[in-house]
Symmetry: C2
Subunit: 397 residues, 2 copies
């Protein structure tokens, strides 16, 4: 490569004074506009007659529970509808796991990598030692999971089964089956099944993952998995509704814990959300509108990457997700940090290199998470150009 | 007293098949109707330009922060605006206190009694030993607080300073001053200042309590108090907004903890709430509407109690709050449980006797919490009649 020319191109980028933050997976204003009608829904009595304006129904508004039970394909008593944050529920689930396993001198948690930085932060802050498991196109490396779960100190695993964060992989039936049937030395082994992108398809094909709760039941481990979903990236980011599905025994246990800290979740927002989405069909139609906005952004990044890296095969590869919020860009070993820094110096902030790994340590220093949803297509094309340029510059021997 | 006639009256009550739940302090539908206009506020950009529909601003929407900082009379960087539950924030504060004092073999918490059952449940569940402190008309017995705080195991105190739950007492300036200046053996001694009824006046006189945060600053203990308020009983119960005020150092520490579990609180509801209330003056006008609905209910209970107990002085006395959500009814010693049971058998459910004390133990078995807000005036008159009757029956030697 003609590094001199590349550096000149880089200096030209710098001189243009770009300012772009691609560090987080935020929906764009155009996506948020899709749900504006939700804001004028002033209903407050649900279809069972519950007044959503008052205390009560910690387990969620009956009408909302029915919607989310249907979405997650579970029984009504296996579903609770909560506040605006599924992360918060997961924080509580890991807290409960720490309590269940309080007698252990060391508590460990399996972390498919690359993964979601906020997951890893939760397990780190709550005192778990994190063990990396490699992600594959069909889910975490199950041979490795099975090997590690033989240690009774291993209390659970993080999973983002549909369009995984950040690679966009979809767990296979075999992976679901093996996780459900896993011989775990720890009897309280917990699968946190964060189905954040369950309905966030980018293509005509709606990839679906087998029902983990049912798989666990069938495998004789009914209390193993807790499934989560959220409308933060369906309606409004941070102003949506999070729901949880688990065995009825787990639901009781989780509700008992939640009852110590909260009287009720915001049932008006639960009602607003489900009345806006109307039905599973309404949700699907709504998500197609999201896809029509988001898809061109993913395509733009992929197109630029293909153009830019065609001439220098081997210095980078990237994921081509069929859904979700991210593209993973892999550089040669030891080049990711430098690439991210070069981008930053030229005005484009990416997620910190290593963020998708426990403790922020990407041992190979090769992964970069690209979040294409928020910027405009034009901005994205610029940013992807710059990113590709910085990868090339970083690869300079 | 003619117990035979009283028992006949009781049997007649029973035969009428009343069904009334007065166990919790819930606003009535008429109160909730006062805020219906909030539900059609579809604004999403705050007055600083922040889009409330997206992630970001964990500390709260700037416009909402300004409103709640003004309400709590603190600086902007001393106030954060959160989700729908101040109880949840207090749960987190007690969790943080347990962490700060992790080295202590035993952790204790001061509980003015009678008090709020959900407070006591939080400290119990988080492993604190609870120490009763008697409430007086000017706040907790400060001689006792000062004596107990000499124990380094004592980590903090619960306070409901304005119209205390359940007595309706208002903390005096001297109490605020002594709490702020208290010589606590534990350097992390925390005052959780739950100002749930700060603006919930029932009379023309708006009783106010001295600013605890400022008092602590002035006394050289700037990080001692955390003040909370909530709009659950201003707009919608469980669908309002909770805010917290503390020293900027504490705010940073609390935000760092919250950041591990949540990305942002529901800023759309923050905006909806403050745009509906408009200003401090708007809030005051709104609370006068609440008072006009709630006041006749408190009056009805007081009137019935006065009538019913006039003939038998000494068997009961009760609080006459100028604000808040409760009336405390005190029976002779050892009569509260039996009274509550008799009421229940006749169809009126009251808060369990003892609920206002740590571990549910009212050593004198004499306190009953009456929650007059939810039922209609007619229902209340019936319930108060029955309650007075049951007190009399319980007093039968």
């Amino acid at each position: 490569m003609d590094y001199k020319a590349l550096w000149e191109e880089y200096e030209a980028f710098k001189a243009r004074g770009l300012k772009l933050d691609m560090s987080r997976g935020k929906p764009s204003p155009e996506q948020l506009d899709l749900s504006l009608d939700a804001l004028t829904i002033a209903d407050y009595i649900d279809d069972t007659g519950v007044d959503a304006r008052n205390y009560g129904n910690l387990e969620g508004l009956p009408e909302a529970r029915r919607f989310f039970a249907e979405l997650q394909d579970v029984e009504l008593d296996e579903c609770i509808v909560c506040g605006n944050s599924s992360l918060e529920l997961m924080f509580h689930l890991v807290t409960l796991s720490a309590r269940q396993n309080a007698q252990l001198p060391v508590r460990k948690w399996l972390c498919p990598v690359p993964g979601y930085d906020r997951h890893f932060n939760v397990t780190e802050k709550l005192g778990f030692e994190m063990l990396n498991v490699a992600m594959t196109e069909s889910g975490p490396d199950m041979d490795e999971v099975e090997r590690l779960a033989a240690d009774p100190a291993v209390c659970g695993i993080w999973c983002v089964p549909t369009y995984s964060n950040p690679d966009g992989y979809v767990y296979s039936d075999a992976t679901v089956q093996r996780l459900a049937a896993l011989t775990a030395a720890n009897p309280n082994f917990t699968i946190i099944w964060d189905d954040a992108y369950k309905v966030h398809h980018l293509t005509e094909t709606a990839f679906t993952v087998a029902n983990m709760l049912k798989a666990c039941k069938a495998a004789g481990n009914p209390d193993r998995a807790v499934m989560l979903c959220s409308t933060s990236k369906i309606t409004f980011a941070g102003a949506g509704v999070a729901a949880l599905a688990a065995s009825s025994a787990n639901v009781k246990r989780i509700l008992a814990y939640l009852a110590d800290m909260i009287i009720t979740f915001d049932k008006l927002n639960q009602l607003r959300t489900v009345r806006f989405l109307k039905s599973q069909g309404g949700l699907e139609a709504h998500m197609r509108k999201h896809a029509s906005i988001v898809r061109p952004k993913f395509d733009a990044v992929a197109e630029i990457f293909e153009q830019e890296f065609r001439e220098c095969p081997g210095i980078a590869y990237w994921s081509s997700p069929a859904g979700g919020y991210f593209i993973s860009l892999y550089t040669q070993r030891g080049r990711a940090k430098r690439t991210v820094q070069l981008c930053k110096d030229a005005g484009v902030t990416l997620t910190a290199a290593g963020a998708a790994f426990p403790y922020g340590i990407d041992a190979q220093d090769y992964h970069i998470r690209v979040a294409p949803t928020y910027p405009s297509v034009e901005e994205l094309r610029e940013a992807a150009h710059l990113l590709a340029l910085c990868v090339k510059l970083s690869s300079q021997p």
